[in-house]
């Protein structure tokens, strides 16, 4: 475009016409590229700002076990826990929670299971990735045991129940009465190759 015919820039010297626009066009093109890059820069910026402003991190402690818990159940309060199972992407799995909701007392330890069956026709290693909503209360959802903590090897067609033990902190703010725990089940191609 810089070689475009430039009809009459109103410049004093006629010889200056032809490429007179080139520096400005280049600067504007750079500006445009910068804007495109900025769109992608918003991705890490978004994560940083979410941390700084503590809008909640839905992965907060969800993939590590708490060492010990002291049970101090709050008998007056009930919180509904919802369980959701996702199989994103190309994985061919049967994956579902044993129960879809539980009414729990904060401060009391509970156990439930998810069922997974390998329909891929291959021996596969897979792992579940948890996500808690609302994200701002993820820190009050503690797990002493979870199948998501480690990779899960499955034989062809194998199906099994996998356990999770959790406790909701008594300090859960009073205005929350519902929390959703979602697992997404992924194949781990590298672990699968290693296992063979």
């Amino acid at each position: 475009m810089a070689d475009d015919d430039l009809p009459g820039v109103n410049a004093e010297a006629p010889g200056a016409k032809r490429h007179a626009h080139r520096p400005l066009v280049l600067r504007l093109a750079l500006f445009t590229l910068g804007s495109f890059a900025f769109g992608f820069a918003l991705v890490p910026l978004y994560s940083v700002l979410c941390q700084v402003w503590d809008t909640g991190n839905r992965w907060y402690g969800t993939q590590t076990a708490v060492a010990s818990v002291i049970e101090r159940p709050d008998p007056d309060r009930l919180v509904t826990v919802e369980f959701i199972a996702n199989v994103p992407g190309a994985g061919d799995w049967e994956f579902r929670p044993h129960v879809t909701t539980m009414a729990v007392h904060p401060g009391k330890l509970y156990e439930t299971t998810f069922y997974a069956r390998n329909l891929t026709g291959l021996a596969v290693v897979a792992q579940a990735v948890p996500s808690i909503a609302p994200a701002s209360i993820a820190r009050y959802f503690r797990k002493t045991e979870c199948f998501c903590f480690r990779p899960q090897p499955f034989a062809i067609g194998e199906g099994r129940d996998m356990a999770i033990r959790f406790i909701i902190d008594r300090d859960l703010p009073a205005d929350f009465d519902r929390v959703t725990l979602a697992y997404s089940f992924f194949d781990l191609p590298q672990a699968t190759t290693a296992a063979r």
Partner: protein, 527 residues
């Protein structure tokens, strides 16, 4: 092919290239401007036809004509066609015609790129609209393309994404052209603070375009890679976040709404002084107000998403900064009104449309202020109140300003005066019906009717019927616009050079009507 350099030197004849090549290989700013405007009119009628179908379905509760999927495609395509095919190309067309004439330049700075940026558009919209004939139908996730819904579309998904890429490329090229033309090609003596306001608003709009259209391109590219290449920008299962799409989208989307209105401000700022026979009140304030609005547009985006769950401090910030926009906008409305104060007013069609703009755009601005109040927005979010708001600022706002501009400059373009009677009929029918169409939608929204739904509860029936009747009347009225243009282009009486008034201000009125094919080959002196 029409070589632009042949006209820069000795060739002062008013020769035009002939045949289809004149349009395919056009580099003349007037030809390209005409093509943009004709394209925009075609898209306006097509998008309007979609709107008629939407209002037809909503005339009664229950599903009458379309299945919900097709209805959603209509809503989505109506928005994309009107925004990217109607309003934006119309503004670019006006800029192509008027910027060189207003600054005393012989053409746009980059005529070849000008040709590309126009001819990309028919391909973009063929791509977008062809998706209606593919498996799964047209894009149906809303023009905002929120994931995960937009990712669940059928074949329309990649077609829509590529169409948006092309539209973005087209408007970026158009914007660069406008900036280079205005900054490099002004006639001697035309300092920046003597620039006509239409050029000023377009200059600022062009900077907004190159700042945010690439961000939209990035956002839809991320959607594309999430769908086909296994990335997880917006997929929580892979560590992404769908809310982030909304942030990136509205970082584009809010400046975009000013891209759709700032040139309208410029047009109105040209017309009101002409028909008040007074210079514009507070020219400098108008320029600074436009620049302030453009700056503020970058820091208010999250008011489109108050309900996603953000910290109180965030809601406060976005609420306050949004309300701040009312200040420079108020300056503008004040200045337009004051320009008319004790003016010698006359009410030809451009002025009628400009006045309707002033009043009805302000209504849209006020409902915008209501929506800016975060706690109230929890009630209004995704209701017809939002639909009423943005249609008030876009239809009797942006579209009326474009019509005002067309009625204002058409005699200069064609050398013929259109039928005043036809144009006034068009004005009154449009203005009455547009209010019948959109005002009841405020009531529907406040009563809780959700947007983007083909069916509704029976208590919403009456106002929906009123709105639909207004919609059909508005749709039919636009045929008068087409008739007025056709009549004005081919059959109108010859127009004078000054067209409106002996005292009319601006370089474009120093040229004969119609403006010669090659104008200002020697720059005028501005004193």
């Amino acid at each position: 092919m029409a070589h632009a350099d042949s006209l820069a030197h000795d060739d002062h004849h008013d020769h035009k290239p002939h045949g289809i090549g004149r349009w395919l290989f056009a580099t003349n700013h007037k030809d390209i401007g005409t093509m943009y405007l004709v394209f925009a009119l075609a898209m306006f009628l097509l998008g309007g036809f979609m709107a008629m179908l939407i209002r037809l379905e909503l005339f009664k509760p229950g599903l009458q004509f379309f299945d919900p999927g097709f209805y959603n495609s209509l809503v989505t395509s109506h928005a994309l066609v009107m925004i990217f095919g109607g309003v934006m190309p119309a503004f670019v067309g006006l800029a192509n015609w008027m910027v060189p004439l207003q600054i005393g330049a012989p053409d746009m700075a980059l005529p070849r790129m000008n040709n590309y940026s126009f001819w990309i558009l028919p391909f973009a919209f063929t791509l977008l609209l062809s998706s209606f004939f593919t498996a799964g139908g047209g894009p149906a996730g809303g023009w905002t393309l929120y994931p995960p819904l937009s990712l669940q579309a059928g074949t329309s998904f990649p077609l829509t994404i590529f169409a948006i890429h092309l539209m973005g490329a087209s408007s970026i090229m158009g914007a660069i052209n406008v900036i280079v033309t205005i900054l490099n090609m002004r006639a001697p003596g035309m300092t920046l603070l003597r620039l006509p306001l239409f050029c000023w608003t377009w200059l600022i709009t062009a900077y907004l375009l190159i700042a945010v259209m690439p961000v939209l391109a990035g956002a839809v590219t991320m959607l594309l890679t999430d769908h086909y290449f296994g990335t997880s920008f917006f997929n929580p299962a892979g560590g992404g976040d769908p809310v982030m799409f909304q942030h990136i989208f509205w970082f584009f989307g809010h400046p975009e709404v000013y891209i759709l209105i700032l040139p309208a401000f410029g047009i109105v700022s040209e017309i009101i002084p002409t028909f008040s026979r007074k210079p514009l009140f507070g020219y400098d304030a108008m320029v600074y107000a436009t620049a302030s609005i453009a700056f503020l547009s970058f820091i208010v985006w999250a008011h489109h998403m108050f309900t996603v769950g953000m910290p109180l401090a965030g809601q406060m910030f976005f609420m306050m900064s949004t309300m701040l926009i009312a200040v420079p906008t108020g300056v503008k409305v004040f200045n337009w009104t004051t320009t008319m104060w004790r003016g010698s007013l006359s009410f030809e069609p451009p002025m009628l449309f400009a006045l309707a703009f002033l009043f009805l755009f302000s209504i849209g601005g006020f409902s915008g202020l209501m929506l800016a109040i975060a706690p109230a927005d929890y009630q209004y979010q995704d209701t017809y109140f939002v639909v009423a708001h943005f249609h008030y600022v876009l239809v009797p706002g942006a579209v009326f300003a474009i019509m005002a501009g067309v009625y204002y400059w058409l005699p200069k373009w064609t050398g013929r005066m259109y039928s005043m009677a036809l144009a006034k009929w068009h004005f009154w029918l449009s203005t009455i019906s547009v209010n019948v169409l959109f005002f009841p939608q405020h009531f529907l929204g406040l009563a809780g009717m959700p947007r983007r739904i083909p069916d509704y509860s029976v208590q919403f029936t009456d106002w929906n019927m009123v709105s639909s009747i207004g919609g059909f009347a508005f749709g039919v009225s636009q045929l008068l616009f087409v008739a007025a243009i056709i009549h004005g282009v081919w059959y109108g009486k010859p127009a004078t050079a000054k067209v409106w008034d002996a005292g009319v201000h601006g370089l474009e009125w120093t040229l004969p009507s119609p403006a010669p094919y090659h104008s200002f080959e020697e720059a005028p002196e501005i004193h």
